[in-house]
Amino acid sequence: MGLRLSNLSVHYGQNLAVSGVHLEIGDGEVLALLGPSGCGKSTLLRAVAGLEQSSSGAVAWDDVDLAGVPVHRREFGLVFQDGQLFPHRDVAGNVAFGLRMRGADKRAQAERVAELLELVGLPGYGSRRTTELSGGEQQRVALARALAPRPKLLLLDEPLSALDRALREQLAADLAVLLRRAGATALLVTHDHGEAFALADRIALMRKGKIVQTGTPHEVRKRPADDDVAAFLGHTGESASCPCCGSPIPDSAVLGRHARHGR
């Protein structure tokens, strides 16, 4: 059950950006799609969202092919690198957007908005203008907005990479907690293996449009599929390091749901 990509290929202009990808994400699972920039991982995510047309293969949810389902009926939440909050609406207006689209009544909207703002650590922010928020706060609101309508699948496109380092660490930790607490099924696209290891149940390594290895963070770290993967992960053997934070991440943090370097 959940998401299944079978033999998915996507052309981006003339180039084959995604080439014959097979991938599954189970219910409640967080999968990180990890790879260098330009490897096709964002295109893959956009194809899942329905924003990019696949040239062959299929995207299926619960074994139902999504080919004929437009973006707005897929019920997948999406968080961009830089939030993309609606600047003409306040924080509550942003979070409630998806609920409004589904025709939820005002009270239900308000309740859900409060609940989510609480969840992302911004209680009482509802009436703030989005332009008054810091980058980290904007990403939290974006996450709340995506989660509010209870999406079947949460798509996270480099959600932390626009933030500065300190924020990134903090938010990575929070995000890990959040995703668990919300019980979300998620596809996280990132080029930062620290982030991937911190957040994901499973990691799919992508290179030049292809998935070269999938496995738990532990498996990937222990047994990189080939030298290139090892080189990309930037380490040999045991000492996993987080290039973004520059400090080694203990196994427990990588494997566990509860990142401990944080608040």
């Binding site: 969202a49 329905g50 924003l51 047309q53 437009p70 973006v71 707005h72 009926r73 897929r74 019920e75 997948f76 939440g77 999406l78 961009f80 993309q84 609606f86 600047p87 003409h88 957007f97 998806g98 689209m101 589904r102 332009t131 974006a142 907005r145 995506a146 309508p149 999406p151 798509l155």
Partner: protein, 531 residues
């Protein structure tokens, strides 16, 4: 996604079909008639033709530069300055656009004497400052100030911040405005005729002469082709210059972006006010003329316009003519808004998928601004009888002909804003469950709403001032104000002249009132009429 493609296809087909039937076909037909006879080559080989081309493009380029220099401070004032009287200025700058070129030409003639080229350039610029102010101001008002502030914080002077941050962000709107103004100036007819005396001629006046007076269709066809090539060349140059400039920008509600000017910004405000005063000079001279007689001040022109004197000359009173103007312009604006907004939406969508196709379509929709009204008008004569109901003499053709001119303006006003909206914002809305139409309502409209209203107001003004097609096609017993002005001023006698000037003043009042009304409209919960 296939549904989107079909929708885009249909969306593109409607304005293009309109363009094909009411522009391409008539123009091709009349040029074809000319090419069928001999004499085309001779005109092309004539060195005078190329002098005409050089002068036409030269005066258009000069007028465009002047309009830009005068329009930018005004755009700044309208978009960025929280000062009193901003709304008034916004209304004032639209007035030139409705005034009949004959009368404005005469006003410039009396203000500047017969200074030839300079008068032509200034008068052309006078008509087009509003295009720059409105097109650029529309985007400027929504531009996020913080990028500029950031540049300032990094040590950039105000001027550096403007040239390195703001100006590039405004480039698409400036490019749009330049294209429109250039086309207007390149095909400017009345101004060149009145102020050029017998010395200065342009492609437009020469096409008029050959078509209308001499019925030299081969000569006119040759010149029309030259005009077409020149216009397409200019549009191509513009398109190349702005290629890839129209990018997503951080847009904000304009209420947040206007602030009180400080320091050197007052200089710009001063410049803007100077421009406004200069724009008002010819306007005032018209008002003065409407009130002065041989024997001193008098309201005779106005009272005559309201009563029997106007009825005997025009068949209707001045007020009835004003009502006719409002109604005709309403039709044209409605039609042009429908077509123009549709085209703008299609263009903004198409560009991401098929850039070149979008460019070609964009250019095609601009062409009516660059082709002689006479060519189109005579083209109608030889084609429109094939349509049901013989449209050649039908008043129905008036809004159609006007919409051709208004549509590109609407596209140019709305498109830069639509293109400046980050597409990911739309995608975010879509993933949250908004259908494409809902995305348009929730994302595009709040941003573009203001520019839509601006476009509607502007289109309305252009249609109010339109004279060429109207003078042929409007029912003789239902003249519009510009038609009334031309009829009155072509008669001897003081009272007729006064009534003509009084009609101009009435036209100004009607314009200001109409634009003020249009811009007060609220869309959704947002007051958008404040650009």
């Amino acid at each position: 996604m296939r549904g989107t493609k079909i929708a885009l296809g249909v969306g593109a087909a409607v304005p293009l079909l309109f363009l094909a039937v009411f522009f391409a076909w008539p123009v091709a037909a009349i040029i074809g008639l000319g090419l069928g006879e001999s004499g085309v080559g001779a005109v092309l080989a004539d060195s005078q033709t190329w002098e005409l081309v050089a002068f036409t493009l030269g005066q258009a380029a000069a007028s465009t530069v002047v309009a830009l220099l005068a329009g930018l401070p005004v755009a700044y004032l309208l978009a960025r300055c929280a000062v009193r009287g901003r709304g008034f200025v916004r209304l004032i700058v639209t007035i030139p656009f409705v005034l009949p070129t004959l009368v404005v030409g005469m006003a410039f003639r009396s203000l500047l004497g017969d200074s030839g080229v300079i008068a032509i350039v200034l008068a052309n610029a006078f008509f087009n400052v509003a295009v720059v102010a409105r097109t650029v101001g529309g985007l400027w008002a929504n531009l996020d100030l913080r990028a500029e502030d950031a540049a300032r914080a990094l040590g950039a002077s105000r001027w550096r911040a403007f040239t390195s941050v703001t100006l590039p962000a405004l480039a698409p709107a400036i490019g749009s405005a330049l294209a429109v103004v250039f086309l207007f100036c390149a095909t400017s007819f009345g101004v060149v005729l009145v102020l050029g005396g017998s010395e200065y001629r342009t492609l437009e006046t020469e096409i008029y002469l050959r078509t209308v007076q001499l019925l030299d269709l081969p000569g006119a066809a040759a010149l029309s082709l030259v005009q077409l090539v020149a216009v397409v060349g200019a549009l191509l140059a513009g398109a190349i210059a702005r290629r890839r400039r129209e990018t997503a920008l951080a847009l904000r509600r304009s209420a947040e972006t206007a602030r009180r000017p400080e320091g050197a910004e007052w200089v710009v405000v001063g410049a803007a006010l100077t421009v406004v005063v200069l724009l008002l000079l010819p306007v005032f001279s018209l008002i003065v003329q409407s009130l002065s007689t041989r024997d001193g001040w008098s309201l005779a022109g106005y009272t005559a316009l309201a009563g029997d004197a106007a009825e005997s000359t025009l068949g209707v009173s001045g007020l009835a003519a004003a009502v006719n103007s409002l109604r005709t312009a309403f039709d044209a604006t409605l039609l042009a808004m429908f077509l123009g907004v549709l085209a703008a939406v299609v263009l903004s969508q198409l560009r991401r998928r098929r850039g070149r196709l979008a460019e070609a379509m964009d250019m095609a929709l601009m062409l009516p601004l660059g082709v002689s009204a006479v060519t189109v008008g005579f083209g109608y004569l030889v084609t429109m009888d094939s349509l049901p109901g013989d449209l050649r003499s039908s008043p129905v053709l008036v809004p159609f002909a006007q919409a051709l001119v208004v549509m590109p303006l609407i596209i140019r006003t709305v498109l830069p804003v639509l293109r400046a909206i980050d597409d990911r914002l739309r995608q975010a809305a879509a993933t949250l469950g908004a259908s494409p139409l809902r995305v348009w309502r929730e994302v595009d409209l709040p941003f573009a709403g203001r520019s839509l209203l601006a476009a509607a107001g502007f289109g309305y003004v252009v249609a109010l001032g339109e004279f060429g097609a109207t003078s042929f096609l409007v029912r003789p017993d239902a003249p519009t104000l510009p038609v009334a002005v031309s009829r009155l001023i072509s008669r001897p006698g003081e009272l007729n002249v006064q009534m003509a000037y009084a009609s101009c003043v009435l036209l100004m009042i009607v314009t200001v009132a109409a634009v003020a009304l249009v811009e007060r409209v609220r869309v959704g919960s947002e007051a958008l009429g404040e650009f």
